[in-house]
Amino acid sequence: MAAVLELLLREEVAVGAVLRWLRQGPGHRPAEVTGLVSLSLLQKDFVPFLLNFLREQTSQILTNGPSTPAKTPNSKAHGSQRTGSERRAGHRRSSQKASLGSFLTATPEALPARRGRRKGGSAVSTSGRQVPRDLGRSLAEEEDGKNDSPSWSGGRRKRSEVPLVSARSPPSQLNLNNLEEFPPMGAASGWTNKSKPSRRINPTPVSAERPLSKPKTCFTSTPVSQSPAARFSSGSNLEAFSTVQEGNLTSVISSSLQEEREMLKKERYGLSMMVIGLLILNIHLYYLIFSLPENLVPNIFLELFFVLQLLTSKGTSTAEEEEESDLEVNERKKGTLKFLAENERIASFSPTLHERLRQAYESSTAKVSLLLPCSVQSVSFQPETDNRSNFPSDRAFHIFKKQRDIFYELLREWEDNHEKTGWDFERVLGNKIRAMMAHLSATCNHSHFARLFQKQLIQMCKGPVGGGASWGDTPDQDVLNMLGPDNLSRLKRLQERFVVPQSIRGPCPPPSFPGCQQFFRDFILSAGSYQFNQHLVDSLCLKILELDGLTLVEHEHSDGEADMDEQDEKKRFTVVLLSLRLLAKFLGFLVFLPYRTVEQPTRDLQDSAVALRNQTLPVLDVLKLLRQSIRDHRSILTVPWIVEFLSLADHIAPFLDYYRKVFCLLLLMVLSEDKEMSFLNKLLILAVLGWLFQVESPVSFPSFSHQDSVPLVDQQLLYTCCPYLGELRKLLASFVAGSGAKNGGFIRKITPTAAESLAPKTSVTQRKLQVELEQAFFHNQPPSLRRTVEFVAERVGSNCVKHIKATLVAELVQRAEVMLQDKVKEEDANHDKLLEEVCAHLYEEGAQALIKGREFCKKKGPEAVRVLLPEETSAAVLNSAEDIAVELATEKACGWLSANIAALIKREVKATFNRMLKVPGLPLPSEDALELRRDCPPGCQHRAPFPSQIINEIKDVLCVAVGPRDEGEVIDHDWLECLLGRLSQTLRCRKFMCPTSEQQLAKCTVELASLLGESVMIIKSNPTYGLLKLLLSVWKEDFGAPVPVQLMFSRKNIASLTLANKGSLVCIHLLQDFLKELEMLSRVFTSEHRIEEPRTNPRELTRQSLGTVTAQS
């Protein structure tokens, strides 16, 4: 190792040559690297060695972050490695779990043989090729599902020729014979199982002085001859980067070194030239690694992180600190990419890399800014899923109503307090949550709550959230915010983040539940409810499947709308990807929760657990989904969430047959290459997989068919903190997500509900032909046409159902209401039976729904299609599109209607009926409506006093009239007359009148009349009689509601009259006329409106009362 480096440093070998040497494997012996030939066996270890060397050399100058883990040669013995990792176990969470390596150890007997073969080392390169082939084959046969053996026994292996990625197009298949496509790392396996737990290779051969003494000659001299024909590019990815030719690589380096030297002088950097030189090498190395299909290092981000550290390091000079913090601000604010893009040092090191980054940054900003903050933070109530008809009973419905409010109450409490010291989730909320769970269980409302919980989770933890300071404060949020437009609240939040130190998570943090996710995790833990968890798992699975099913569609760059579409789709893709990751993380949490153990189980326990758990099926078939995604080229969407899901696996899970397959497939993805995948897509996949394997597997893959070939051995898991990389990763995730549409956008595939065709049944062949024609029609049209038609069909079909509900069904329900009103009064009938009868009447008419539905679709479908398609669409195309849309919409709508119309009518009638029964005292709705339909007189200005005002004033009059009165308190006659006048106005303007107000006014005025009658007797004045006449006219002319005039002669009022009046019979005769009119009025009211309680004829009553009065006087 050191020898190679030394050769390099001594300029005996050019950098380019070393890179070539690294890439091309030991069999390759170009002339210029003769010096390396003897070292060929060490080739694969050179990279880790170099990296470690760099780390060592730079450890003192890296003041700007935690140290990144060193590389270890991939050929380490796993046994001792494990000891090493276990020793560190105390420091990290996930190291407590079984490593991926150890689960793989547990397998096959056949593997040692293979390993042995490789160790032979005679046909190094061919055995190197063997790795993926074996892998691919084993996976392929696992895939066909017939191999039930828990082991990967070579003996039982079926010689299936199905390649792993069988459905892929030929160029992207794993080409087992193509040297370019497979990593050479495992090729040379001469390196024996040298147990070396240390993280560093002994760096002795490079003397400490040499770097300091040699740099100038090393890096400034002209490079050795370069072969212009050097076969550098091995794939399209590389071509993208081939602007940097090997030939000029060193010259770039040397020229940039000049600049760097100047820079160094100026800024008094404490870096030695040696370090700078190596740094450059490192950058270029990684630059190349990115572009290499072989992906020498699985977790490229650790390395990128390291490079970034070097770039941003300022040596030890304290004078630079200020600038450093500026830089930090810069980075945080603008995002790592921008920082990189603007980093002048990168520019001076490598103009092309800089250009590339700059482009990347520029293309990334535009789209994320589309994500506007959403102001709603709660899950909205949707009648379709949340109203009474979705619950088995009133009780369940009302209890859920409360549960929803309690849930948000808990959430607010958490939000307000969880950051306060001494606040403990379980202590404060635990019992409330469990009480809630008990209520849910009692009414079987878990599924509703699980849905709410899941929706709220997405709402708070994924989407861009504005406003509230601490809501949605998640890492993904960081990314979105940073890239978003300048926005005061965001800036404020960023500022806050500087003040409050961010929790440090390091470049490869264990899975965690940051921000609001914490609430949801703790809620699940505190609830400890099996039912709830199960429903939540169901809900999460459903949502994941739905989101994962989004289809990636090729972009039509030919038409002008592509840009717009692309942006929309990128935005949507970002949202979908982030949601999926979130949901999958929680799903993983729930699925593996019951198996979580603090300690790694012993081997025996593990074996029995594996045997036991191998018998059960996984909740979500992630393996199938992963395979599908690879086949359909959608792994960019699927892999990231599967990684989240798996990151929460318990100790045992990776040993289970099922999950082992998943891990192996993922590992294969690291090793293989999809040339069609865009650079950044690939980067994302590598990043998340790198992370997963870091987290999952600190050790090697000894039995993974070819352990030496996999260079992700013994990566350390827990690194000391560094927020930069976390942000870098997040940023890239978001950025890559955003550019996912570069070689393929994502659109939602809308599949119209496949309802039974209601069209007259044509022959099968004819229908088939129609379908074919339809497909053919779309084939040569832009995909947007199909999307539009499907969209229109979906929406029009759905609206059609709503239309029928609002028109036909509503009409029928109204009719039912009338029928029910009559019948419910007739007898104390059996309500259920009554309902059945009435509904049966209506079902026949419900058949109209299909005719009306068809009409609706036929009318609306074409309208919508016409609006949505471009104007230049030819008439013929337009017509066909309209026809198809109408047909699909009709099928959807009528299919639903024919199946559900009866149930719908019944449901609606029942709901109305229940409402009717619930308000027995109040006038029936139709009557109510009748009264309200009375309009204001023409030209009414609605200026009349409010009914409440008049009631209040009459109440005051009644108070005085009823007494007790204050000294000298009287009712002013004129004022009373005025009041009655205003009462008349108020009654005429109907705007503010409600039935209860009017009824009360009627009642109060009757009482008033009764008291006036009394006072007529007391005061014996004619003017009061005038008031009575006035009232009579108001009753007659202005009231819409019946006036209970009979109350004047109630027992109470007679008693009152008797009490108040001990004489003056004369006065009573004044009332005679009034009484006559009153009698007539009373008849009018009784005939117009049913009066519940038959009362005595007022005339008779009057006579009676007069008799009483007479008798008593």
Binding site: S375, V376, Q377, S378, V379, S380, F381, P383, D386, N387, R388, S389, F397, H398, F400, K401, R404, D405, F407, Y408, E409, R412, G467, G468, A469, A911, F946, P947, S948, I951, N952, K955, D956, L958, C959, V962, G963, P964, D966, K991, F992, C994, T996, S997, Q1000, K1003, C1004, E1007, L1047, S1050, R1051, K1052, N1053, I1054, A1055, S1056, T1058, L1059, A1060
Partner: protein, 283 residues
């Protein structure tokens, strides 16, 4: 009209121990001439209700009911025309309407030899002519008419005021071209909690986005506001997002502290309304 906590406390303190009569109300108006009558009445009513809640239990014991009933009987025996029940209520610091209820209940119990149903009692209080005893009917009526905080008449007035302000608000929304779904429509759709109005297209009021508006024809004091938050406003927030509450008779301005989170308080229809641009274009 917004009141500061201090202003409100002054009024509440004055109300300390008053009887719910029109005379008390008159005094209150004289003392605080700058406040609107409706605001004062609303505060008065709320304060009195708090007072009643505190003492409610002691009037509802069987012994108390018996005592009141006997005193009533003795009173009307002496003079049936005297305001026996009303004076009794004032004497023991209890709401006249509630006193009427206790005595009526006791009366019916004795007459029917059974505990009367709530519905029957309520119905008789609403329409005392149904009370089978003319004298008691008049006594009860006198109580309900003279009570300005409790009783069917007051309830009806409150209901009417609430309805009128809802209509007013509806008018204002129509005038501003803000389309909305009203409570009855929402209920018909099966919503479990329904604010007075849900805006079909949200607007920003004073820079805060709102989705719903609730009209409250009362004064927003601490206890009523807390109760409303708990029973209604947060529930609306939980379902529809942030919204606006209009306390037409004012509120304690310190209570308007949930703006950031999404509950805005106003004492009138807001003037600073920003609508979504394209919906403006549709006008």
């Amino acid at each position: 009209m917004k009141l500061s906590k201090a202003q409100y406390d002054e009024i509440a303190q004055f109300l300390g121990h008053v009887q719910p009569t029109r005379q008390s109300l008159r005094k209150l108006k004289e003392k605080f001439p700058s406040q609107s009558q409706s605001t004062l009445l609303s505060i008065f009513s709320q304060e009195y209700q708090k007072q009643i809640k505190r003492t409610h239990a002691k009037h509802h014991t069987a012994e108390a009911a018996e005592t009141y009933y006997q005193r009533y009987l003795n009173g009307v025996m002496k003079n049936a025309a005297a305001p026996v029940l009303l004076e009794l209520a004032n004497e023991v610091d209890f709401a006249p309407s509630l006193m009427a209820r206790i005595v009526l209940e006791r009366f019916l119990q004795e007459r029917e030899q059974a505990i009367p149903s709530k519905t029957l009692i309520n119905s008789m209080l609403r329409d005392p002519s149904q009370i089978p005893d003319g004298v008691l009917a008049n006594q009860v009526y006198q109580c309900t008419v003279n009570d300005c905080c409790y009783g069917p008449l007051v309830d009806c007035i409150k209901h009417a005021i609430g309805h009128e302000h809802e209509v007013l608000l509806r008018e204002m929304l129509l005038e501003k071209n803000l389309s909305f779904i009203a409570e009855d429509q929402l209920r018909a759709k099966g919503y479990d909690k329904t604010p007075d109005f849900i805006l079909e297209v949200p607007v920003a009021v004073e820079g805060h986005i709102i989705h719903w508006i609730e009209s409250k024809a009362s004064f927003g004091d601490e206890s009523s506001h807390q109760a409303y938050l708990q029973d209604q406003f947060w529930s609306y927030w939980n379902r529809f997002g942030p919204g606006l509450v209009i306390y037409w008779y004012g509120f304690i301005e310190e209570l308007d502290c949930h703006r950031e989170r999404g509950i805005l308080l106003k004492d009138c229809f807001p003037t600073d309304i920003v609508t979504l641009r394209h919906s403006m274009a549709q006008r």
